[in-house]
């Protein structure tokens, strides 16, 4: 049932004892269909919040009401929480707020409302519910965590850090507390401490993509590029189709390009040669083959290609041979220039390409 008063309510009252002021004015004549319907509607509404089933039998003398919680049905609060978890927000929030009036001490309701409203961007209200919950359960780690999240979403980073420190102090093994504290610390510029909490989060759940990504960011912020790249790659591996993975891919490309440019000032001769080789190779191929090879490299590049390690070798299904990461990136760049020049692969090889193009064009003119 909704609360604790059992899972059955079964009572019969005399028709004349029913408080007719509870009914619409035009439905107060016993024996009429309107009266019967109004009585039924009244009890249906009274029991609605408890879930389960209600049967109402109205005859000429009595009203029999039997409500029973469906033993197979979930608790109404939990059912609403499950709907929230599925992203169905508006109605569950409305019903939970109604339930909250009856059960102001129900921490599950306060917590759920706080998190849902926080996700809806109603951060002031979220904070109120979460603080009410904490007044009742001051040692509740998830409540402190939710409060921390609501605060950081308002830009109140220092307050968020304080709330999340409470959460971590209560339960150092809580993934969300550790991850969010790490994230807030990065936001506050405390990268090293942020890294510690994010490492702990990754230890708690090595498959938590956001923690892995956050750790990569903490490392990157401290200039630990190689380690950062490793964790970005791991984040992509965990779910290559997620938005987190997209962000990780972007970060990896940026890291690779920065590293690529840092390796030599001005033009990268090796890249010029790889581009020139790709131009020559593709010029002799039907555009469909160029497209197939280019896309295969692009797919492979989704999880990152090592452009600074000539020892790393890759193979393609659509083109025999072993290739270095930089070689494939050059091949992809040239391929897209030929089949979809408007596409930005996120790795700027324009200068190397122009030189290679000039070299190839010059060779062609000389042939």
């Amino acid at each position: 049932m909704a609360g604790q008063a059992g899972d059955l309510s079964d009572f019969t009252i005399s028709l004349k004892d029913f408080d007719q002021s509870l009914l619409p004015a035009d439905a107060r004549t016993p024996g009429t269909d309107a009266f019967q319907k109004a009585v039924s509607d009244y009890f249906v509404e009274e029991f609605r919040e408890f879930g389960g089933w209600v049967q109402i039998a109205v005859d000429t003398q009595t009203i029999h009401v039997r409500w029973q919680l469906d033993p197979d049905a979930p608790d109404p609060v939990l059912s609403l929480v499950q709907r929230l978890n599925r992203g169905d927000v508006e109605e569950p929030v409305r019903l939970l707020e109604k339930l909250c009036k009856y059960q102001p001490g129900n921490v599950v309701i306060l917590h759920s409302l706080g998190m849902a409203l926080s996700d809806m961007g109603q951060l002031d209200r979220a904070e109120i519910y979460l603080r009410q919950g904490l007044a009742l359960e001051p040692e509740d780690c998830p409540l402190w965590t939710a409060l921390g999240v609501a605060l950081v979403r308002q830009g109140r980073v220092e307050e968020a850090i304080a709330a999340l420190r409470e959460a971590v102090a209560i339960d150092a093994n809580d993934l969300y507390a550790q991850r969010n504290l790490g994230g807030c610390l990065i936001k506050a510029g405390a990268y090293q401490e942020g890294e510690e909490h994010l490492r702990r989060a990754v230890e708690i759940n090595p498959k938590d993509q956001q923690s892995v990504f956050g750790l990569a960011q903490a490392l990157q912020a401290q200039g630990k590029m190689k380690d950062a790249d490793t964790f970005y790659a791991r984040a992509i591996d965990l779910d290559a189709t997620s938005t987190v993975a997209d962000a990780a891919k972007t970060e990896r490309r940026n890291l690779a390009e920065r590293s690529f440019r840092a390796a030599a000032s001005g033009l990268r001769a090796d890249a010029v040669m790889y581009c020139a080789d790709a131009i020559r190779r593709f010029q002799k191929m039907p555009s469909a083959d160029v497209q197939r090879i280019t896309y295969e490299v692009a797919v492979m590049g989704q999880r990152g290609l090592s452009t600074n390690d000539p020892a790393s070798q890759y193979r393609l299904k659509s083109l025999p041979g072993d290739y270095s990461g930089l070689q494939l990136v050059c091949m992809m760049y040239v391929g897209f220039q030929m089949v979809a020049p408007e596409h930005d692969i996120g790795f700027d090889l324009s200068k190397e390409y122009q030189v290679a193009r000039a070299m190839c064009d010059g060779n062609q003119q000389g042939e």
């Binding site: 909704a2 059992g6 059955l8 009252i13 004892d17 029913f18 408080d19 509870l22 009203i63 009401v65």
Partner: protein
């Protein structure tokens, strides 16, 4: 005044509990005896220390109610606590609840100990109301109406005696012995369900408005107490639909406003009695 067989009933409970009781070994238990928890034994010992008499705990399959305690009077050597085996898994709470009644009587100063008895005025008033209410019911002769009036009168006085004090006992058990909470909840839910029988049309048919309203108001007050305790509106639904909830809430407010000390139990019963229009329907008998 009836003299009672104990000597230190006015001592504070906490002091008594701290004393080593020579009576603990005197408790009589008769087979078949279901397993009692350490909490229940603690409560039984408290009764023994407070009253100076042992408690006999005994099953009784013939009982129509779940449990009862008969306080030792005169030369009786022990209190008799009987329970219906139907209480089954909730035995510990049922025993502790009855003990709570006994404790409250003996924890009150001697001058405030009481028994609620019937009054001539109350019985006659009940007879008159029943006769008026059923005067058009040709199927009931004078004897039948008298029988109904007696049953109804005994019932409403029993309810007045037990419901407000029962809530005090429940409050004490709930806050002092949380390990009883599950059993307390289970039996209370049953009791709340049973209380709604006072709304039934067949009961209503034989019950004058004054008695019906008093009975339902006390049931509504009990429902309101548990609704508040559990933060659950479900127990209120029946009384809300009949317009009786406000009377129940008024009684509960009276219950809240009066001191929770056992010495004030008599005052509490009297306050409810006045609120329900039952003043003069009962008498307080001195002592136990």
């Amino acid at each position: 005044m009836i003299q009672i067989g104990f000597t230190h009933g006015t001592l504070h409970t906490a002091v008594l509990a701290a004393m080593v009781s020579p009576l603990a070994a005197r408790r009589v238990t008769l087979p078949p005896r279901m397993e009692l928890t350490s909490t229940t034994n603690e409560v039984l010992q408290l009764v023994e220390k407070t009253t100076g008499l042992p408690v006999i705990v005994q099953a009784d399959t013939s009982m129509r109610i779940l449990a009862a305690i008969k306080i030792a009077q005169g030369s009786a050597p022990a209190h008799l606590l009987t329970y219906n085996p139907k209480v089954a898994a909730n035995l510990n709470y049922a025993v502790c609840f009855q003990c709570g009644f006994a404790l409250r009587i003996f924890q009150a100063p001697e001058a405030d100990r009481y028994a609620v008895g019937s009054s001539y005025q109350g019985k006659k008033e009940a007879e008159r109301l029943v006769n008026e209410h059923l005067r058009n019911d040709k199927g009931l002769n004078r004897d039948a109406r008298l029988h109904i009036a007696t049953q109804m009168y005994d019932g409403i006085i029993r309810q007045l005696r037990s419901m407000p004090i029962g809530l005090r006992v429940d409050e004490w058990l709930r806050t002092t012995y949380p390990d009883l909470a599950e059993e307390q909840k289970a039996l209370t839910v049953q009791q709340l369900q049973a209380n709604t029988s006072s709304l039934r049309p067949d009961v209503r048919r034989f019950t004058p408005d004054k008695v019906r309203n008093a009975s339902v108001a006390m049931s509504a007050a009990t429902a309101a107490y548990w609704s508040r305790t559990w933060s659950d509106p479900l127990p209120l639904v029946p009384y809300k639909s009949t317009g009786d909830l406000d009377r129940g809430l008024a009684l509960l407010k009276r219950w809240d406003d009066l001191p929770g000390d056992p010495a004030a139990d008599k005052q509490l019963i009297d306050a409810w009695g006045v609120d329900l229009g039952l003043a003069g329907w009962y008498e307080f008998l001195p002592g136990i």
